[in-house]
Symmetry: C2
Subunit: 394 residues, 2 copies
């Protein structure tokens, strides 16, 4: 993975001095030619300054560079925050000799502190000088906060009879909840895709990937997913018959990245699919899955490797969906724990505990009311989650 | 508090052998004469067998005994659970020589395991033999699960020119969320109050007390609040002018008990009032308060004594209420942390940290949009909460 690259793009990641621990904290992606861009952003009513700027710039459909810092969210920083975000883009544009409106900005880290602009001003020219086609892994490291590992994924496909390549990078380990894009994610492709088509596909794929994961039910003020298409690879995604291949490859990249975000979540020891089936509607299935996936009691039981299905059925019961306990089945992978709302007894507990001791498994809840289903990916709630978040700023 | 009693009532608490650790696990309240009764119950779609039975019996407006066990919730136990709950009431009625329809039943503990009825059959006659006017504190101990302390509160007032007395007992330390009565609570009074008036006052007071607390956002399948009025004290609550004094005394008892439930919550080290004001409507204020009070990130920051107001504003932003970050003020007790959506700087952090180091304080969030307000009581999310809930059944 060290030498991952995507035709038409250069990247860099460096330690600028924004984080106190001298880790990498400034990343830059540069498209050698103006790229088509699509983006989805946090739905939180409180939005960071860089989100406001990037949202405007994505609307134009064109982007040539993305500057990202970690260690500071530049959020709740008022007018100064907006002018700092704009200046960050302007410095990048000047150093790269490109148009300022073609620079998107992202920040991630602590809320409520001003960006150290002297550090940024000093670092950007050095970042530009360090741009390399194989700098994507350094970029992935530079956008990390409490992440334990950088997250980079690739996929390839065919469109218009030519090969295309997609590279995706993400960060995110807390403040994760299914509500629009819940972290930072940057996807590069060498295919040619018009901005409005790219936006349409991104929205669809995002619903099935980053909008289906949860760690702690909190949403960030800085969430951003950007997709940049350089068109340098020769493949063109335009004809209706080319759409499915590109959509599938993007789904593959964003699906794997979103699952990596959960697995690498703060203090996470278990990655668990909650699959609710037998619902009357997809929306009701999703509501039940969300309520189970967010329950502190379910999540602590997962951490404790305790097959405490009573907490799962209690969470389903409080979801607001009018379920009938008498028709519920619950399986841990292929182990049936609950049949018609009643436990299957001590005999199956040992088998269920064997499933719970694995790092990833599926809990299937069949409501027995219809044929709709929904699936989300959740995590356990561990001692380390509390430790990490009690000490985050200190 | 050892000798607390309420005229017309006897109580007992004993170790029957339902819990594995030989702690008290069976409690009985007996009204020497048939008492007026009112009750509110869990709104969870999954309801324990004893809730189904007690709900029927409260509808009659009359009750003469309440039998409660801890260590087993008798929930998701199917037809057997219902017949066990009915048998529990019948044995009590036979031992006390009262009508079976006058016996309410409550259970609390692990979901999904059948009640050990042989233990119950053997213990009930001994419980009846142990009834005493001053047995309320033993009763309070017998209904505890993960509670660290028994919870008993008294209040006195005047109605129809005569003194009345209210004694309330509660248990609950997890699965606590504002949605109907979220634990077990039994209130006794020597006043005479008609059942329908008692029910009306209980509903109002419950909205302001047990429906305004949260620990972990999960609701139980067994939640029950019962109020029994013996009328033995001579005071009569009937005339409109007597209603406020009784309502106020009940509010006092249930308000103090609900706050005790949070303070004694699983792993709780901080009891925090979230007061949202300046909202357009009370419902919107409540939604913002609930979202802040349930946020894992806010609650871990409270545990870490970290004045991380960014998490508070981010939670408010994702609540679904269309807030304007630019008009938000946040105070920790009397320390202003945020003015018009921007932090007040490092200078006030030391003062805020001083507030956070106390065991109880108020976070006031002024949305600056109107004049409505709402208040809930929440707790921190600690390492011990995770430890207790990861190991609950083992």
């Amino acid at each position: 993975m060290r030498n991952v690259s995507c035709l038409g793009f250069q990247a860099v990641g460096m330690a600028a001095g924004i984080k106190k621990n001298r880790a990498k904290d400034l990343g830059l992606i540069y498209s050698e030619t103006p790229a088509a861009v699509a983006g989805v952003f946090t739905r939180n009513a409180v939005q960071a300054a860089p989100v406001t700027i990037s949202r405007e710039r994505v609307a134009s459909g064109m982007c040539q560079a993305v500057i990202v810092n970690s260690g500071n969210a530049n959020c709740c920083t008022g007018e100064r925050g907006l002018s700092d975000a704009r200046e960050m883009a302007r410095i990048v544009a000047e150093s790269l000799k490109i148009h300022e409106a073609g620079v998107c900005v992202s920040s991630t880290g602590v809320i409520g502190e001003p960006l150290p602009m002297d550090v940024v001003r000093c670092a950007v020219p050095r970042a530009v000088a360090g741009l390399r086609p194989d700098g994507i892994m350094d970029f992935a490291e530079a956008i990390m906060t409490t992440d334990r590992t950088p997250k980079v994924v690739e996929a390839r496909g065919l469109a218009s009879g030519k090969a295309f390549h997609i590279v995706g990078v993400a960060k995110g380990a807390g403040m994760i909840r299914p509500d629009m894009a819940t972290m930072l994610c940057f996807v590069l492709t060498d295919a040619a895709v018009a901005a409005d088509l790219l936006q349409e596909i991104l929205r669809e794929v995002n619903e099935e990937t980053f909008n289906c994961i949860t760690i702690d039910g909190d949403t960030s003020t800085n969430d951003t997913v950007l997709v940049l298409a350089s068109g340098r690879g020769g493949a063109i995604v335009h004809a209706p018959e080319d759409r499915p291949a590109f959509r599938q490859a993007l789904l593959d990249v964003m699906g794997r990245l979103s699952r990596m975000v959960v697995t690498d979540g703060e203090g996470v020891t278990k990655t668990v699919d909650i699959h609710v089936r037998g619902a009357r509607t997809r929306a009701e299935a999703r509501t039940v899955a969300d309520t189970i996936g967010h329950s502190c009691l379910v999540k602590t039981a997962l951490f404790g490797e305790d097959a405490n299905w009573g907490r799962i059925i209690a969470a389903a019961g409080r979801s607001g969906v009018p379920i009938d306990p008498g028709t519920i089945q619950i399986d841990f992978d292929d182990v049936r724990m609950v049949q018609n709302g009643v436990g299957c007894g001590k005999a199956v507990e040992a088998e269920a505990t064997r499933v719970l001791k694995t790092p990833a498994f599926t809990i299937t809840v069949d409501l027995g009311m219809g044929s709709a289903d929904a699936r989300i990916v959740t995590s356990d709630l561990s001692l380390d989650y509390v430790r990490i978040n009690a000490d985050y700023r200190s």
